[in-house]
């Protein structure tokens, strides 16, 4: 596990990012709650995978990430494609930039910035979910009734408590 601290020279702000380096030399960024990011220096590639299911918001997030990397000039725009495995999206970076910069550093720096930009949004979302659950399980006084648990009536409106009897509806007896 590597802990990378990025310091802004102008503002003096620092950003910390946890990165794992595998034995094969790849870098894993797993801080984001929705996606896992891998930087594969051997293939000059960034691979983004969903942590769980590939849903519309997750795809949008992956797309946003690559748009961000392309806008920063880190990833080549024409190389962003769907990967060979479930829910993956990948893009390539230039192996040897003409200016002699280290491409892996540039990629990791941009990824750190993206995750940092995203952090308020997903922290807010997580907190909102927690708060909502808390309110539902332990509602405040004004949202609760004085009667405690109210048993369900045998007939509530037009819907019977145990559903409609299916037997005999069409004059069939099973």
């Amino acid at each position: 596990m590597l802990k990378i601290t990025i310091k802004d020279k102008l503002t003096g702000e620092t950003k910390e990012l946890n990165i794992k380096r595998t034995l094969s030399g790849d870098y894993m960024l797993r801080e984001h709650p929705e996606i896992d990011i891998m930087v594969l220096p051997e293939k000059n590639k960034v691979l983004v995978l969903p942590k769980d299911m590939q849903t519309e918001p997750v795809y949008r997030l992956q797309d946003d990430l690559f748009k961000y990397l392309v806008s920063k000039g880190v990833i080549l725009p024409d190389t962003v494609v769907g990967g060979n495995i479930y829910g993956s999206l990948e893009g390539q970076y230039v192996p040897q930039p003409p200016g002699g910069e280290n491409p892996v550093q540039a990629v990791v720096y941009s990824l750190a910035n993206f995750i940092e930009d995203q952090r308020p949004a997903y922290t807010y979302h997580q907190e909102y979910e927690k708060q909502r659950e808390k309110e539902l399980l332990n509602p405040p006084e004004e949202s609760a009734t004085e009667l405690g648990e109210i048993p369900q009536e045998p007939f509530k409106g037009s819907v019977p408590k145990y559903g409609f009897p299916s037997r005999g509806i069409y004059r069939y007896n099973y």
Partner: protein
Amino acid sequence: MKHNKKRNSAFLYEALTREATRATLHKEADKVRFITQLVKENFRSDTEMGKELKLYRELEQDTVDMDIADKFLIEVKNRHDKLDKKKLFVEQSNVISMINKKLGVSVYNNFIPNYKHIATISQIFGDSTSVKEKILLESSIIDFIKKKDVIIEEQSLKPIDNIVYNMFAKKFNEKYSSLISEQKQMLTNYVGSFADEGLQFKAYLNEEIGRMKKEIQTIKTFDVITSDTFLTEKSEKLLEYLNGFSKVREIKEDTLQKLMKIQQFIHEVKN
């Protein structure tokens, strides 16, 4: 040197207690009850087996002073000589018979960590061991009693016996020697995938499937394939399967086997 482990009271006791532990873990209440009863009945302090077990326990200690270790061993041997051997034989036969009939011979295969030590003690107690061997065994037991701490330290530095390691390596190589390098690499990645929730394995698969697709595209142009409609169709199907792999959410063992077969196919056609 021959050693009949079934006639070793300490071994029978250890094997039964381990079997009881195993049965407890598997929630086999009847079996546990039966073993507990068997041990209680046959290893009581007034039975010959119980007395013999106590003598084995004496020689497993490491609290004996260096000066009195010899005398200690002689005293233990004297007490063993006083045991009623016929009664001991009958009791052991009874336990062996109950194990064979009710529990099965697999009980004897239970791993006993200090088996080597209790086998040595058994040979010291036995009459069939030659004088020379007996003296050598006795000296090793005395060393054990005196220097148990040192032995443990030495063992901790050498965790696996060379023979065990060589056997393991030999069996592993025998089993997997037929695999090609790509298959070995896939297996290695799969085995290691549990550490990081499969992230690195997924990254590896992403690249490997890309490689396989390219290889099959190339293979499709080979004369052997183009001249045979059956092989062309099958190659198309393989390519279809690999293209559809991005829809496979969970990678199970059968998926892995299929991928390894495709690797084998590519390897065979290319060579």
